[in-house]
C-alpha cells in the first residue's frame, strides 16, 4: 500500500547546467501529449488508495499555463487524498503570479517548494539560473498573502569558486525570507550535464565540509531532521520522510522512480516511449534482506535514526540481529538510545563510510 505520490513534469523555460533530471524545453504540443499519457499512466497503475502526500516536481511544474494546470489537476483529482494530505508543488520564482497561486490554492496545494538555489551572481551564472532577492521577497509576500504558510526554499552550495563568505551571504538572505523549510544541496557533478562536459571540478572536500558545518550551525534554531533538510518544528516534509522511512510510494511521469508492492521501479526517460505508454524502464524486486539494507541506508539519513521497535515489527528481528552494529557503536560512529539507533551527529558528514561498514 502506497501512501504517497510523486508526479514529474519534465518541462523548463531554460536548462540549468547541473540538472540531470529528464527535462525538455517547454513546448505546448508536447505538454499536451505528455499530460494525456500521464493521465493514462495514473489510470493504469494507481490502485485507489488514499494518499497522505503528493509532490509535483520537475523539471518546472510552474511553467505550465493556466489551461495545462487545470488539466493536470483534473488528472490528479482521481487520486484520493486524506483530509490533511501534504500537497507540494515546485515553483520557479519567476513563474509565481497571483493567478498561479490561486489555481494551486483552489486545487488543494498546501506546500510550495521554490528553487532559488542562490542569490550570488557568479553562482547563478554557473548554474545558468536567475534570482534576485527583492523579487524573491515580493514573491514570498504574495505567497503569504494568498495563504501559503508552508514554504520550502532550495539552496545549492559547494559550487566551483564559491567561498564560505558567498554561502554566508546566501544563508542570511534565505533566512530573511522566513521559509518554514530549507533543503540544501551540495553540488553534484553528474554525467550528461553541461558542467560535466565542461569538466568542472568539485571544490575541496575541506571547504565542502566547512560549508556543511556552517549551514548546520547557522540553521541550528531549526529542526535538522534529515542530513540536508532543515525545518521549523512541525514543518518537516512528510513526503520526503516517506522516502527516508523506506515506505512505498508511486512515481508517475517521465523518469520518475517509485516503490510499490516490494518493487522499486524507474520510469523511462525516453519521451517518445513515455508518450506511447511504455512507462517502466527498470524493476527491482526487493527481498527482505534488501529491504533491511534500504532501511539502514535511508533511515540513517534522519537525525533521529531508526526506531528499533518499528524495525522489529517490520522485519521480525532486532536491528542488532540483522546487522552487526557493535563495532560501530563502540567507535561511536553510531549512537543508541532506548528507542533509536542513529548516526553520531559529529560524523554525519562521513555517512557513506559508515553505511559501507554496515551493509
Amino acid at each position: 500500500m502506497a501512501s504517497s505520490v510523486y508526479i514529474h513534469i519534465p518541462f523548463c523555460q531554460t536548462i540549468c547546467s547541473y540538472c540531470d533530471f529528464p527535462k525538455f524545453l517547454y513546448n505546448e504540443k508536447w505538454v499536451y501529449a505528455y499530460l494525456t499519457s500521464l493521465k493514462k499512466e495514473i489510470k493504469d497503475r494507481y490502485m485507489d488508495e488514499e494518499v497522505e502526500t503528493i509532490y509535483i516536481g520537475g523539471g518546472t511544474p510552474s511553467i505550465l499555463n493556466k489551461e495545462e494546470l487545470k488539466r493536470l489537476f483534473k488528472i490528479i483529482e482521481t487520486i484520493k487524498k486524506t483530509a490533511n494530505c501534504e500537497f507540494t508543488f515546485e515553483c520557479n520564482l519567476s513563474d509565481i503570479t497571483e493567478e498561479l497561486l490561486i489555481i494551486l490554492k483552489e486545487n488543494g496545494v498546501n506546500r510550495l517548494s521554490i528553487g532559488i538555489e542562490s542569490f550570488q551572481k557568479k553562482n547563478l551564472e554557473f548554474m545558468g539560473r536567475t534570482a534576485d532577492f527583492k523579487n524573491a521577497s515580493a514573491k514570498m509576500n504574495l505567497c503569504r498573502i494568498l495563504g501559503f504558510n508552508n514554504i520550502n526554499l532550495d539552496l545549492m552550495y559547494a559550487i566551483p569558486n564559491e567561498t564560505l563568505h558567498d554561502l554566508k551571504k546566501d544563508l542570511n538572505l534565505f533566512l530573511k525570507l522566513n521559509p518554514e523549510h530549507i533543503s540544501t544541496y551540495s553540488l553534484l557533478i553528474e554525467e550528461h550535464t553541461k558542467i560535466y562536459i565542461d569538466k568542472e571540478e568539485y571544490i575541496s572536500e575541506e571547504l565542502d565540509y566547512e560549508m556543511f558545518r556552517y549551514i548546520c550551525r547557522k540553521l541550528s534554531n531549526a529542526h535538522h531532521y534529515e542530513i540536508s533538510n532543515f525545518a521549523l518544528k512541525g514543518y518537516e516534509s512528510k513526503h520526503n520522510l516517506v522516502y527516508w522511512n523506506n515506505e512505498e510510494y508511486y512515481g508517475f511521469g517521465l523518469g520518475a522512480a517509485g516503490y510499490i508492492d516490494s518493487v522499486r521501479y524507474e520510469n523511462t526517460r525516453n519521451l517518445k516511449k513515455y508518450l506511447l505508454g511504455d512507462y517502466v524502464k527498470t524493476k527491482e524486486i526487493v527481498s527482505k534482506e534488501e529491504k533491511m539494507k534500504y532501511e539502514i541506508m535511508l533511515g540513517l539519513r534522519k537525525l533521529s535514526g531508526i526506531n528499533k521497535k518499528e524495525f522489529k515489527q517490520k522485519y521480525g528481528l532486532e536491528l542488532k540481529e540483522a546487522f552487526n552494529l557493535t563495532p560501530l557503536l563502540k567507535m561511536k560512529d553510531l549512537l543508541e538510545t532506548k528507542e533509536y539507533i542513529y548516526i553520531n551527529p559529529d560524523k554525519l558528514y562521513v555517512m557513506n563510510e559508515i553505511l559501507l561498514k554496515i551493509i
Binding site: Y6, H8, F21, G57, T184, Y185, S186, L188, E205, E206, D208, Y209, F212, I227, S228, V242, Y243, Y249, G251, G255, A256, A257, G258, Y259, R264, E266, T282, E284, K293, Y294, M297, L298, R301, D333, K347, L348, Y349, V350, M351, N352, E353, I354, L355, L356, I359
Partner: protein, 597 residues
C-alpha cells in the same frame, strides 16, 4: 636408426635474440609440426610466456632428421633466457651434449649471452655460435662476428649466419648439430638411470616427469623409484614429445621423454633427482645439476584470509616444476596467515605471483622483498634473517652482513656516465669498465643485492633508453651498517611494511616511503599519522587528513535505487583494501612503497 644417431642440444641466448622463433623454424624444417598447426613460439606453452615474450619453463621436443642417408633423432631442449631462470638453463644443459648460442645481429653480445655461455661451458657442451636476425636492416654482421671471435674466442669459420624469421641458415644449424654435437654416451647394459630435469602436474595423470635416460632402459610397467626420496611407482605411460606426445614402450639410454605413473603425492618428486628401476636398481645417483639458492624473500598472503589452504596447494603444485621455489608458513599481524617465499630474483617473484593469480585464481598481497642477512650477535652467534620481522633487537646485534653481487652491464659506451651514477646511488663499489669494442662497454660494480631487488633493472633500462643489458652473480657477504626501519600507521607498527636499510640511506628512504604511503592510502574517517621509525626514534612523519565529506546529499524524486547503486560501487572499491588495525590500506601499498626514489 643407429643408436649413435641421437643428439641432445639446447639453444641459449640473451632474452629476445630469437631463440623461440628459431625453435619454431627447426620444428617446421623437421616436419615435427604441420604448417597449419604452427602458432608462434610453439614451445612457449604458458600464456604468461607468450604474453611477455619470455620462456620460463623449459620444454623438450624430439625431432627426426635425415642427413647423408642417415636417420637422426634430435632432442631439442628449450631454455629460458632471463638471468632469474638460469637454474632452468642449467637443468636443460645437464641433459644435453651441445648448445646453439644465438646472438642478435643488431644487438651483439649481451649480458645473458655471457652468463648462459659460461654455464654451457661449465657443462662441457659443444657450442655452435649463430648470428641471428641477419635480415634486419640494422644488422651489423661483421661487428658481431668480431665480438664472437675477439670476446668469446670462436673461430670465424664456425659461425653460422641465420634468420629464423626467413629460414635462411636454419638447415645449416641442424647439419652442424648432427655433425658437431657428440652423440650421448649409450650404456644399454648398465642398470637404468634417468635424470629428472622437469616435471609438471596434470590433473588427469598426476605428476608427469620429463627425463633423460643416461644408462640402461626404462619400460612400461616397470616399478621405478626415485633415488633421493625412495618413493616407488609403477610406470603407466612412457613417450616422447614431437612436440605432440607420442607414446612408446620403452625409453633407452640417450633418449629424452616423459613418464607418468599416477603420482598424486607431489612431495616425493624432486627435479634433479635420479630415477632407477626397482628390479635392476642402480647404485649411485647421477650428478644432477647446479642447484640455485633463492636470493629474494617476500611474504605472500591471500587477500581473502580463507584462501590460505588454496594458496598452499598452489605453491606445492608450482614447486613441482620449480625446484628453486622455497616457502614456509609465515604470520603477519597486519596480513594474517601466509607464506615466506624464496625467489631467485624479482622476475621470478613476478612470474610466480602472476601464476598464482592466474592459474589458481587466488588474489594475493606481496610484501616488499628482502634478501638474506647474516646477523652476528653480541654473544658470538650468527643468525640468517630473511625477513625484517625476524631481525633481532638492535642491542643484541654486533654487526650485519649482506649479500653482494658482481655486475655485467653491457651498454653503448655513451651511457657510461648514467650507469655509473645509478650504481653509485645503489651503494655500488666500482670495479672496472671493460670495452667489448670501441663503442660498447661492460661495466663491473659490486652492489648489495638488496639494492637491485627493487627497481634497479627498471632504472637501468630507463637511464639507457633500453640499450643496457644486465646480469649478475652473487659474490658473497660484506659487512654493512644496516638498520631495521618500521612504518607506523596510526601509531601501530605494520610488520608487513618494515624494511632493512643502510643507515646512511634511512632518512631519505623513510621520507620517501612515508610520502608514497600518504598518496596511496585514501582518507579515512579520522586523521592518520604515518611514521617511519628506527627503534623508538621517528625519522619521518606525514598525516593523511581525515575524510571531510562523503555524503550524497542529494536524492531528489525518490530515486533511491540509484543511490543504492552508488553505494554498492563504493563498496566494490573497498574490496581492494586490507584492514590494518583500524586503517584501510590498498593492496598495492605493500609493494609499491619500495619502487620509488
Amino acid at each position: 636408426m643407429k643408436k649413435e644417431n641421437i643428439r641432445n642440444f639446447s639453444i641459449i641466448a640473451h632474452i629476445d635474440h630469437g631463440k623461440s622463433t628459431l625453435a619454431d623454424r627447426l620444428l617446421e624444417l623437421t616436419n615435427a609440426v604441420e604448417k597449419r598447426e604452427m602458432k608462434d613460439q610453439l614451445l612457449d606453452n604458458m600464456d604468461l610466456e607468450r604474453e611477455r615474450g619470455i620462456t620460463i619453463k623449459l620444454n623438450a621436443v624430439k625431432l627426426n632428421y635425415h642427413l647423408d642417408n642417415e636417420d637422426y633423432v634430435i632432442n631439442l631442449i628449450d631454455t629460458p633466457g632471463h638471468v632469474d631462470f638460469s637454474y632452468e638453463v642449467s637443468r636443460s644443459l645437464a641433459a644435453c651434449e651441445g648448445a646453439i648460442l644465438i646472438v642478435d645481429a643488431a644487438q651483439g653480445i649481451e649480458a645473458q649471452t655471457l652468463a648462459n655461455l659460461y654455464l654451457a661451458l661449465a657443462n662441457d657442451l659443444k657450442i655452435i655460435p649463430v648470428i641471428n636476425k641477419i635480415d634486419l636492416p640494422n644488422a651489423n654482421i661483421e661487428k658481431v662476428k668480431k665480438e664472437l671471435v675477439e670476446v668469446l674466442g670462436f673461430k670465424e669459420e664456425e659461425i653460422i649466419l641465420c634468420s629464423a624469421k626467413t629460414g635462411v641458415g636454419v638447415k645449416e644449424i641442424l647439419d652442424a648439430v648432427v655433425k658437431k654435437v657428440p652423440a650421448p654416451q649409450i650404456n644399454l647394459d648398465k642398470p637404468p638411470r634417468a635424470l629428472i630435469f622437469d616435471s609438471y602436474y596434470d590433473p588427469y595423470r598426476g605428476v608427469v616427469l620429463l627425463v633423460k635416460v643416461v644408462d640402461g632402459k626404462i619400460s612400461l610397467k616397470d616399478t621405478m623409484c626415485f633415488m633421493a626420496t625412495n618413493c616407488e611407482y609403477e610406470i603407466i605411460e612412457l613417450g616422447m614429445r614431437t612436440p605432440k606426445e607420442e607414446k612408446c614402450h620403452e625409453l633407452k639410454s640417450g633418449e629424452v621423454g616423459f613418464i607418468s605413473a599416477a603420482i598424486k603425492d607431489i612431495s616425493g618428486v624432486r627435479v634433479g633427482d635420479t630415477l632407477t628401476v626397482k628390479k635392476n636398481r642402480a647404485e649411485e645417483p647421477l650428478a644432477g645439476y647446479k642447484e640455485m639458492k633463492p636470493m629474494v624473500f617476500s611474504g605472500i598472503f591471500p587477500s581473502i584470509p580463507n584462501k590460505y589452504d588454496e594458496l598452499k596447494d598452489a605453491l606445492n603444485k608450482l614447486k613441482l616444476n620449480d625446484a628453486a621455489l622455497e616457502f614456509e608458513p609465515e604470520t603477519s599481524e597486519a596480513l594474517g596467515f601466509g607464506f615466506r617465499i624464496g625467489f631467485l630474483g624479482l622476475l621470478h617473484m613476478d612470474v610466480i605471483i602472476s601464476r598464482i593469480e592466474r592459474e589458481f585464481a587466488i588474489s594475493i598481497i606481496a610484501t616488499s622483498p628482502s634478501v638474506v642477512y647474516n646477523v652476528y650477535l653480541t654473544d658470538g652467534s650468527m643468525v640468517k634473517v630473511d625477513s625484517p620481522s625476524k631481525m633481532p633487537e638492535r642491542v643484541k646485534i654486533e654487526h650485519i652482513e649482506e649479500p653482494y653481487i658482481f655486475t655485467n652491464i653491457i651498454a653503448p659506451s655513451s651511457y657510461v656516465g648514467p650507469i655509473m651514477e645509478l650504481c653509485q646511488n645503489k651503494r655500488g663499489i666500482y670495479k672496472s669498465v671493460e670495452y667489448l669494442d670501441p663503442t660498447r662497454i661492460n661495466v663491473h660494480y659490486e652492489i648489495p643485492l638488496s639494492e637491485i631487488v627493487y627497481d634497479f633493472y627498471d632504472k637501468l633500462k630507463s637511464t639507457t633508453k633500453g640499450y643496457a643489458s644486465f646480469d649478475y652473480e652473487v659474490i658473497g657477504y660484506k659487512t654493512s651498517d644496516l638498520v631495521k626501519m618500521d612504518i607506523l600507521l596510526n601509531g601501530d607498527i605494520v610488520d608487513a611494511l618494515s624494511i632493512i636499510v643502510h643507515k646512511d640511506f634511512a632518512y631519505p628512504k623513510g621520507r620517501a616511503i612515508v610520502s608514497k604511503l600518504r598518496e596511496l592510502i585514501p582518507r579515512q574517517m579520522f586523521q592518520i599519522p604515518i611514521q617511519a621509525s628506527i627503534g623508538s626514534k621517528v625519522i619521518a612523519r606525514e598525516n593523511i587528513s581525515a575524510m571531510s565529506k562523503n555524503v550524497l546529499a542529494k536524492c531528489y524524486g525518490g530515486d533511491v535505487s540509484r543511490k543504492r547503486k552508488l553505494l554498492e560501487k563504493q563498496k566494490e572499491g573497498k574490496k581492494r583494501m586490507k584492514m590494518v588495525g583500524s586503517v584501510e590500506v590498498p593492496q598495492e601499498a605493500f609493494l609499491a612503497v619500495l619502487k620509488d626514489e
